[in-house]
């Protein structure tokens, strides 16, 4: 007992050192999203490519969706663009765009110049849907399940490594849930 007390300060200092050492490798910009597990916020905005078409949160339901926040002003959006094209081609998920605080003409030109990987892009000029989604900048990508519930948010560009480490596990999980829902006869197509 006595020896334990003697070593207690050393143990405490080591524990504190461990905690602080862990703090060194944490990214303070990696803020957990407040929207995980919550439904996609309601919105009514126009399609980027067509002003006359209105899109609401219901248009994102029915498939596992990725909602990618992008803008022509965003440098890293160009970096992740080829990966987004690959993801869209794989057909495993539906990739939607949220054109965030941008100009319609410039954004449409951007999609023409590169390649449009999105099923469609929502045009959020004021950034209001962005605020409802807790978006701080672009690129950010949300994973939304078949019932329109936000399951994951990734801040920063997507590349092969991020896709493997962050996206595939959650997508597999949702696919698995969906399969077991169907086998137990739970109706998830509401």
């Amino acid at each position: 007992m006595n020896t334990l007390i003697r070593f207690l300060p050393l143990i405490l200092v080591l524990a504190l050192g461990l905690v602080l050492y862990r703090g060194l490798s944490l990214d303070p910009k990696d803020i957990p999203s407040a929207l995980i597990g919550k439904p996609m916020p309601e919105f009514s905005l126009t399609k980027l490519t067509d002003e006359s078409q209105t899109i609401t949160q219901d248009d994102l339901k029915g498939k596992i969706s990725l909602l990618n926040v992008w803008g022509t002003w965003c440098v890293y959006c160009k970096y992740e663009h080829p990966y987004l094209v690959d993801i869209a081609k794989s057909g495993r998920v539906a990739l939607y765009g949220l054109n965030y605080k941008d100009e319609r003409i410039a954004a449409n030109q951007w999609l023409k110049d590169y390649e449009d990987p999105y099923v469609f892009s929502i045009f959020d000029e004021s950034g209001r849907l962005g605020v409802d989604l807790g978006v701080t900048a672009a690129p950010e990508t949300f994973v939304i399940d078949l019932n329109g519930i936000i399951r994951m948010k990734h801040v920063g560009p997507i590349d092969a490594r991020v896709w493997q480490a962050k996206f595939l596990p959650i997508i597999k999980m949702i696919e698995h849930e969906h399969q077991s829902d169907q086998t137990t006869g739970v109706n998830s197509d509401d």
């Binding site: 803020i31 407040a34 004021s126 605020v131 409802d132 989604l133 701080t136 900048a137």
Partner: protein, 160 residues
Amino acid sequence: MINLLFKTSIGFLFFYVVISTTVFASPVDTYAFNDAVTEKRFNELNKELRCPKCQNQNLADSNSPIAKDLRREVYELLHQGKADIEIMNYMVARYGDFVLYRPRVNSLTYVLWFGPAVLILIGVLVVVFIVRRKPIERKKVELSVDEKDKLTALLKDKDL
């Protein structure tokens, strides 16, 4: 000549003071308020809310696009007659607890709020424990009669 120099420097000083205060007093967009109380609440809220992108600045300090958007939200929510707490909750629902400069007390922040007090308490207890601990008792050494005789004999020898 000196008079002219004096006048121009006063002029510059005036210019500098007026311009600098008008420019730096609000790095912010201009919002019109119907009454002073709402304006005060607007400013207070912008000080309490943290810019989610630039985490060492509050909304009032930051000129980033997101801070600008959030100031607009605060302004509009105030105009809709929302209470301060409702506006805070609105922001927390979107940006999480990180958006508050003074984090709320919950199971995640107990350590943050009460950790320092607990550490001080532990320190005080340790000090009290050490101070009040009884001093180590020393055995009183009594010499036997023989030993006393020896001692006096030795001391006498030394004297010689």
